[in-house]
Subunit: 796 residues, 2 copies
């Protein structure tokens, strides 16, 4: 169900790009009162044409805002427009310069203490969530397997299948129903959403409390129902959710908010917390604190600061300690079927690993194979997701039908496959009962005669993460259905199977242990599909608790990533692209050097005067979805026409709500510091967005004026219109901007040419405006059959 959230998100994303910038080098005049209605229709037509010239994937949300706003769509879907985050503290003339550092010592101390407390709470909650998930899965699925196995022992095969398939069906449908009806944003892994958020794309509802609950419950149900899905991805999403909710001070709806938390109501602190949350999620899934930090650094985050490393590390340390404490409790036997399992998968500590030069060729072959398989995995996953997406779009009925079909197929496969396997006699001299009776064990009798066990059944009828239970082909079919599901653990399991297979094929030609081959197989497949290196390496080392594996794991990862990068993109990037998030890449595309910023600004430019009529503001806000507007001072308020700054939509809405209006266009107004406090302008949580439609103003109000000066960010980042697009995109990306103002080169013109937003830097948008670039050799490099260029960009 990875794509189920797409429709919701795409229909609501930021309307900025379709409208704000002006394509002509000359800027349009300020909105004139008399031309309001003409302007309105003009805007709509322009918006349409803008969305036509560019790819539908890039310019999500081409649905015109006015028509939507007038429909009776539920307020939640209307107000939760996807915002593109601005990860800098905003500096307004008056208020928002007062960030915490300019406050007194007590404030600073409070901020710091609170920040670390939040990290501690985040670690503790993520650890508890990870433990709870494991505990529930082990118990629910454990009971299911015990009952089934007991029936098989009693030779009641048909009954066993019935119970097995029915329980799987119920669990799958439960997960699918709660996901589809209560929180569509909880579907899928969640890592692509978190990655997009940290890049600056805030999809609706992804971090709401409802999503959190559905994610945890749905993940438990989906994993328990024997679907080939993992819990790592959902745990990352869970960690990010917890972080976001903590930062917002709990949900305001449920009165959980706290006054102190006002310091954290801005995009930057929220982003930092979410980064720590995703690290905590990985740490909770694998009990790998260092691996979690590296995962957040390598795979998820788009900006990284040294100080964040330190905070993320603290969070994952707390996760590790909490998990350890909870597992210590379970060792006393109070956790039902949750034994030692669930958190450490492979255990190759006991062996001392020795390897020599002749062992390298099989390892290299394993790496190459893993790379190829990994990229095939990504390729097929994308195809499957596209197909599922088509099905899911048709409505709830189809979503549930799909989930039901997959559940039944999975049950049949898992129950059917062991019949094909031969029975093995029980090994002698072990303490464990064989065949296992009564509880989940490692030797399943299945259909075999007494004193024999079915090894395939032992793999498939087990929940423990240390059993490699699935064949390669199973994993990618299930990811797309409407339930929280991860990719990480299936890939590890599949890789381990693959590695063991290669190890068996090598036979006596290699002195390496089969369990070592399994670890290396996992590494190669992870490298091939996820394309992470350091984090996968560290996670595997922390899982196996053996550092001597390091050089071999590194070698395999390097080979498989290189091979796979030559074939296609990494799995999360594919999903991010498929979901239509306007993800901003680190590097500038080569053709961007050919263009200047003025080549990509499109559409009419909307501006406000320093002292603007209320009616104008309301009209502009109603007819557009932009998040920022330039403020220009004209004579007689300045010598010439001068760019004063940038004002945000959110702040305009607050001004309108507060009704601090001036009767006339004069500079001598009201002392704003008495009317507003900095907290009024703090970033709201995701559940609370103002909407222009909710603000009722009288006709009298409409004729009054607002002095925008005190609320304007007077030093927005600007670029000259002749700057190359490549440089602008680097500025935009590195500084983490949301709006970039384009100013004219010549001083004789209007003070602003246009505004660039994230959407203007999307390749689809640029190539839509300049189709000739497609024909040039850049196209061959970028859109060619091979992704060779991708490799180079990635590696450079």
């Amino acid at each position: 169900m990875a794509m189920a959230a797409e429709k919701e998100s795409t229909s609501e994303v930021d309307l900025e790009s379709a409208l704000l910038p002006s394509s002509s080098v000359e800027s349009l005049p300020l909105l004139a009162h008399s031309t309001r209605s003409r302007q309105h229709s003009h805007l709509r037509s322009l918006r349409r044409s803008a969305s036509n010239t560019t790819s539908q994937i890039a310019i999500v949300g081409s649905d015109p805002a006015p028509s939507r706003a007038s429909t009776t769509s539920p307020s939640s879907s209307r107000s939760l427009a996807t915002a593109v985050g601005n990860f800098r503290l905003i500096e307004n003339e008056e208020f928002l310069q007062q960030d915490w550092r300019s406050r007194g010592r007590a404030h600073i101390l409070r901020y710091v203490v609170l920040k670390w407390t939040l990290c501690f709470l985040l670690g503790a909650l993520a650890g508890a969530a990870g433990f709870l998930t494991n505990l529930a899965i082990e118990n629910i699925a454990g009971v299911k397997f015990v009952v089934t196995s007991n029936m098989m022992l009693a030779d009641r095969h048909l009954w066993a299948f019935g119970v097995f398939a029915a329980s799987n069906f119920v669990l799958t449908m439960f997960a699918a129903v709660i996901t589809a009806f209560f929180a569509p944003a909880a579907a899928g892994s969640g890592i692509p959403e978190v990655k997009a958020y940290l890049n600056g794309v805030d999809a609706p509802e992804i971090f709401s409390p409802r999503t959190l609950v559905v994610k945890v419950v749905g993940c438990i149900a989906a994993v328990s129902s024997s679907l080939h899905v993992g819990k790592a991805g959902p745990l990352v999403h869970t960690g990010a959710c917890i972080a976001s909710i903590l930062g917002q001070g709990g949900s305001r709806k449920y009165r959980l908010t706290c006054k102190w938390l006002r310091y954290f109501k801005n995009d930057r602190d929220r982003r930092d917390l979410v980064t720590c949350g995703s690290a905590a999620g990985v740490a909770a899934a694998f009990r790998a604190p260092v691996g979690g930090v590296l995962f957040a650094l390598e795979a998820v985050s788009s900006w990284w600061r040294s100080a964040l490393l330190w905070r993320a590390f603290f969070t994952t340390a707390v996760v590790a300690v909490v998990l350890r404490a909870l597992i210590d409790i379970c060792h006393r036997g109070k956790c039902g079927l949750f034994g030692k399992g669930g958190l450490i998968m492979f255990d190759v500590t006991s062996d001392t690993i020795a390897y020599h030069l002749p062992d390298l060729p099989p390892v290299i072959i394993l790496g190459i194979g893993g790379g190829i398989l990994g990229s095939f995995y990504n390729f097929f996953l994308e195809k499957v997701l596209r197909a599922y997406n088509l099905i899911n779009e048709k409505g709830y009925g189809y979503k549930l039908l799909l989930a039901a079909t997959i559940s039944i197929c999975t049950s049949c496969c898992i129950f059917g496959l062991p019949w094909l396997a031969s029975c093995s006699p029980c090994p002698t001299g072990i303490s464990e009962a064989c065949p296992s009776i009564g509880r989940s064990g490692n030797f399943k009798k299945f259909q075999c005669p007494p004193d024999h066990y079915n090894d395939l059944a032992s793999l498939l009828f087990n929940t423990n993460d240390d059993t490699i239970r699935n064949l390669f082909s199973a994993g990618l079919i299930i990811y797309g259905i409407a339930a929280p599901s991860g990719l990480f653990i299936p890939v590890i399991l599949t890789g381990a199977t693959y590695g063991r297979l290669v190890g068996m094929l090598m036979g006596s030609r290699s002195t390496l242990d089969h369990s070592l081959f399994a670890v290396l197989g996992s590494a190669s497949l992870l490298g091939g599909s996820m394309r992470m290196t350091v984090s996968v390496c560290v996670i595997l080392l922390e899982l196996t608790n053996n550092l001597l594996l390091l050089p071999l794991v590194m070698l395999v990862l390097l080979i498989s990533k290189t091979v796979a990068d030559a074939l296609n993109a990494n799995i999360y990037d594919l999903i991010v692209k498929l979901k239509g998030f306007p993800y901003l890449e680190t590097h500038a595309e080569p053709y961007m050097r050919q263009l200047t910023v003025s080549d990509v600004v499109t559409g009419p430019l909307l501006m406000f005067n320093g002292i603007e009529k209320v009616g104008n503001i309301v009209h502009v806000l109603k007819t557009t979805g932009h998040h920022g507007f330039p403020v220009v001072d004209e004579p007689p308020f300045s010598d010439s026409s001068v760019l004063y700054g940038l004002i945000l939509r959110a702040h305009l809405l607050i001004l309108l709500k507060k009704r601090v209006f001036l009767p006339s266009r004069s500079l001598f107004g009201i002392d704003v510091s008495k009317q507003f406090s900095a907290d009024d302008f703090a970033k709201r949580g995701s559940g609370k967005h103002d909407d222009i439609e909710d603000i009722k103003l009288t006709a009298e109000d409409m004729e009054m004026f607002i002095d925008l000066h005190p609320f304007t960010n007077t030093s927005p980042y600007t670029v000259v219109e002749t700057m190359s697009l490549a440089k602008a995109v680097i500025l935009f990306r590195e500084v983490g901007l949301r709006h970039l103002l384009v100013v004219p080169k010549s001083s004789s013109r209007a003070p602003i040419v246009g505004i660039l937003t994230r959407h203007d830097f999307m390749p689809e948008h640029i190539l839509g405006l300049h189709p000739s670039l497609l024909k040039s050799r850049w196209k061959r490099l970028r859109f060619g059959k091979t992704s060779l260029n991708k490799v180079f960009c990635d590696l450079c």
Copy 2:
């Protein structure tokens, strides 16, 4: 001798800041031909006054360039001015837009292959250098200890002391002499220099081949001479040197350059290689590949890209494999006294570590103590370095005298201390000979009767890194002397001693092992002095090969770093500051929000016309040391006065050298693409700098013109003069700029207000210009007695 290099570097650093920007809001007119001599004296007086208003530490190099250039100083010290790197590919109209991506496929492939080959070579060479260093130290010091021990066995105590002290003296003096006379830049740890380079400060000679050789040889001699110094820092510097030399294509002097390497002759690729090199250095020192990458990320680099993680990881993987292979060879007994030692220090693998809640209080106490000790260590190290600096400044004689004094003191200490220790009877039932006879062993007889050994002597008379051989007070006195010396390993050893001491004091009150206390003690002291978290943690885990330690090590690190951060700054920052490098911090200081960029631009602004007279260019280049000049088009070449772009000093020198002059001020000139190729403008290696004094032009040439347009970077980053300084510094730092042009807000004025460089953002410069800020509350926060604010900035 950490400070020995300071004089050389400070006298040569970038002259930009003292001159370029204009303090008046109005820009000065272009250089007029007639006012040349007046302007000259004007410039000199201004330069002097500018350097008076600002701190001497920040504005290094206030020495006027013209007077220097006319002296007969050796060309090496003149031409190797510290350059501040510009880590973006430069885009000129004509040539430098042709970076590798716009070249053909063959070029791209060559670039990528070469890049990975360079990383491979870097890893292999760094691994070999690390191994060589270890091997040499083990053998040189080993022979010394064997001879001394044998003499002690024969009761010839005075002879033993003589041989011991003499060999230490010779080794120390050798290291000091080669460092002082051949490569002063090789003194000290090298990590601060690498850190400053990666921040954009290119000190002279730090990466020259001569520095590399002296670093390796000097480090071997210094460590062998029983000084309390480590090899980690020198290895990091060695790795960075190798990287830089590889990227430059070897030294051009020795004809080692390669044509393919022209792709790497730019700051960005060089920086990436140096980052990988520093990671390789740490990996070679500790055989910790993951730790090396994290060290580079956390402690050294200022910019980081995801792709770099992957390359650094590859490099350290190669280091690990090379080291393993070389050690395998040594295990066959071909390496003299180099046994198993040198690369793994602690070995607590064999024990299974169990710890419970009651073990936490001692661990927390250990962490707090480590934090306090670590910050004291930093405090005293800074004082000692300042004192040494005063001595070293007096000349070579004093440098060597200092080294000699310290060597003799150290010999006396090491030889004297064991006499104070009591003798222990030899343990029974061990395979090793006791007392050790003939070769370096773990049981030193020293002055003890037969069948007894002196445990303090066993610690002190050993080279193996697994012996904890020094007391706390010893480490910080030696770092400052004129020899390559690291801080990392002394801190680990001292910390281990401290930890064991705490463990012994705890006695039976803690169930934890003493070796575990030693590891935690090292961690706490590292956290307290280096202030690294994740990398120290991973390095210690890789050293001890035991992941179960993780939660405890994390806890100790977190506590000690927090405690120490509250007291003072981290050790590398202190040294960077002491050396006077203009290091750019990640965060903007609070008072920067109070200022606009126009508040910090100072001095007259020098500009060129689009078509400029040769004489003017020569004059400006001779009288200033700026690295960049704005190019302005005036009527009749444009409608109004327009900023065309920025031209670099290096490119102007190339233009003058090539003598592509125009007879008159006209736009119809020569087809430049025939006269120049992109390679002409590639960044030279550190050994090859053009100098304006080397270019001889006739009086006729001086009256001709150059068309600067094709060589100008037409889209430099610009900010409006009203932008807050805090935002400008974020832009400058995040995008990695070298020059930031300030443009006027009003369109009616001249097109450029000033240029900001790194020096303009230094707190000392800003506070020098605006002393009132010192009196405001910002001052209390920043310059107060406690560094509480530092903690907050660091953690936020």
